[in-house]
């Protein structure tokens, strides 16, 4: 343990305050719309609670020097509240969690980031977006989501899967329920299945000019919106959605303590892995400090560790960094020396990643919390 570098000596409250203070302002800025006057008391109260929650989690991240534990709390709760907020919004607007032909024909379906993988080829060839959504107006418009996807891809690469994706929190949560895995050995080669999904979905969607993953294979349709059951085909689709959700998001993560859906099935994760190649941040392995204990391999939820080294599919969640007893794994800025200023590398990474997480999940966090509070008063 003596070789593990301390990110900050515990008790260095001053430095923690110094690093957390700007984050208070930034989080306040990003939640300002929710904190502003004119909202209901419950909504304002929820926004204040959210602000305090986000700030306290960031403080713990800085003060304890451990990333994953506190990130996961925000990430998982954010995913749950996102779904609560999203579903209640749908019920308010449509009186149902399902969408019908009317929503598709009037192009009012919210655009999800996973659709990006399916629109690339038709956008390049036909110069059109194959999705029945709104370009500018409305919730999750196409232009806003594409801007967000491009922005975070450049800055944090596949870190989106652990710091932003409002679906990822589901299997991150279920993978942490059991203390020990029931299925202990999961071959890390399974992570390449996601790339196969990317290739197939891109080609299949381009050929049919419709987003096939959304139409047939998205497990998160079970907790967001899905097609109304009107005939046998839509019945089969819903069976597929719910089955995939139960198997890939609940059962397998529970048994393996790995994020099976994100690591092996999501085509967006595979696409973002390619951005990891050009991303300025990575998690670096130092062979001179490594004692081959294998704790990183067991800890990694994304099957991204091979020979104790993080690979292309690393989502920079920080779990291996926290688990490593000798500090052989650490956040790193590409182009710099891996044995110097690693604490700054970590801080430089978690700052934009946390701001991104708060901004993307913050609004629905507040709405979801307000809905829950309203149930009790």
């Amino acid at each position: 343990m003596k070789n593990k570098p301390t990110y900050w000596s515990t008790g260095r409250i001053g430095r923690s305050i110094l690093l957390t203070a700007p984050m208070v302002l930034l989080i306040g800025l990003m939640l300002s719309g929710n904190l502003a006057g004119g909202q209901s008391y419950v909504h304002t109260f929820s926004a204040v609670v959210a602000l305090l929650f986000f700030v306290s989690m960031f403080w713990m991240m800085i003060y304890t020097g451990r990333t994953d534990r506190w990130r996961a709390v925000v990430f998982i709760i954010g995913a749950l509240l996102f779904c609560i907020s999203f579903i209640s919004n749908l019920i308010e607007v449509r009186s149902s969690m399902t969408f019908s032909d009317a929503e598709q024909l009037t192009c009012t379906i919210p655009f999800c980031h996973i659709v990006t993988t399916m629109v690339i080829i038709p956008a390049a060839i036909k110069q059109t977006i194959i999705f029945p959504g709104s370009l500018v107006e409305g919730y999750a418009s196409i232009s806003s989501m594409l801007v967000i996807v491009l922005g975070f891809s450049i800055v944090i690469g596949r870190g989106f899967c652990s710091w932003g994706c409002f679906y990822g929190g589901w299997d991150d949560g279920t993978s942490r329920i059991l203390r020990r895995p029931v299925i202990r050995r999961v071959n890390s080669a399974f992570r390449w299945f996601a790339f196969a999904m990317l290739v197939l979905m891109a080609l299949w969607s381009a050929e049919s000019l419709s987003p096939k993953y959304c139409e047939w294979l998205c497990p998160f349709k079970a907790v967001t919106e899905n097609e109304r059951i009107v005939d046998g085909v839509t019945l089969v689709k819903n069976i597929v959605f719910y089955t995939l959700f139960v198997v890939l998001v609940v059962v397998l993560p529970l048994l393996t303590r790995k994020r099976i859906q994100c690591a092996t099935f999501c085509p967006m994760g595979a696409l973002l892995s390619l951005f990891n190649k050009i991303n300025v941040f990575d998690v670096r392995h130092r062979a001179d400090l490594c004692i081959n204990c294998g704790r990183c391999d067991k800890a990694c939820p994304m099957l991204a560790i091979e020979n104790h080294c993080p690979t292309l599919t690393c989502s920079k969640c920080g779990r291996c960094v926290d688990e490593c007893p000798t500090g052989a794994l650490r956040y790193h800025v590409r182009g710099t020396s891996p044995d110097r200023h690693f604490t700054w590398a970590r801080t430089l990474y978690i700052y934009p990643a946390y701001i991104f997480m708060v901004t993307l999940l913050g609004g629905s966090f507040v709405n979801g919390l307000a809905l829950i509070i309203n149930l009790f008063i």
Partner: protein
């Protein structure tokens, strides 16, 4: 040299926070910029294509779109033509002698069904002030 590379690496890393903030704070501007990209238009498969004819039948407005034959590199042999019926106050409607894509059709609409003579209805939806109907078209050899 290493120090210069390190400097720019840390600078780029530090800019990450600025970029993330800029993305969200300046979202309106970025959206306007994104809209100028050539591919930022919804495929006619979903929008029904551009409106080529607007008809006023009594108080009802009928918008006839151009025929759409979906295909990745070239148009396919099968497609559809979309008809939007707007400003209709009643729950049922019958429209006779509608000129649509070279055909003259009669359209019968209720909240639960849509029927046309000669052309088969592939999709239809009841919306707040009318209907959206898609009729199947096939290219003649």
């Amino acid at each position: 040299m290493k120090k210069i590379i390190s400097f720019f690496a840390y600078l780029w890393a530090a800019l990450g926070t600025i970029i993330i903030l800029a993305v969200f704070i300046g979202m309106g501007g970025w959206q306007q910029l994104a809209m100028r990209l050539p591919f930022m238009r919804i495929d006619p498969v979903f929008t029904g294509g551009t409106v080529v004819d607007t008809l006023q039948v009594d108080s009802v407005m009928v918008l006839v779109h151009e025929p759409v034959f979906p295909g990745l590199f070239s148009e396919g042999d099968e497609g559809f033509v979309q008809i939007d019926v707007r400003q209709c106050p009643t729950d049922t409607l019958r429209l006779d002698s509608l000129p649509v894509a070279g055909n003259v059709i009669a359209l019968s609409l209720t909240p639960a069904s849509a029927m046309a003579n000669d052309l088969s209805v592939t999709e239809f939806a009841r919306i707040s002030d009318g209907w959206i109907v898609r009729l199947e078209l096939k290219k003649l050899d």
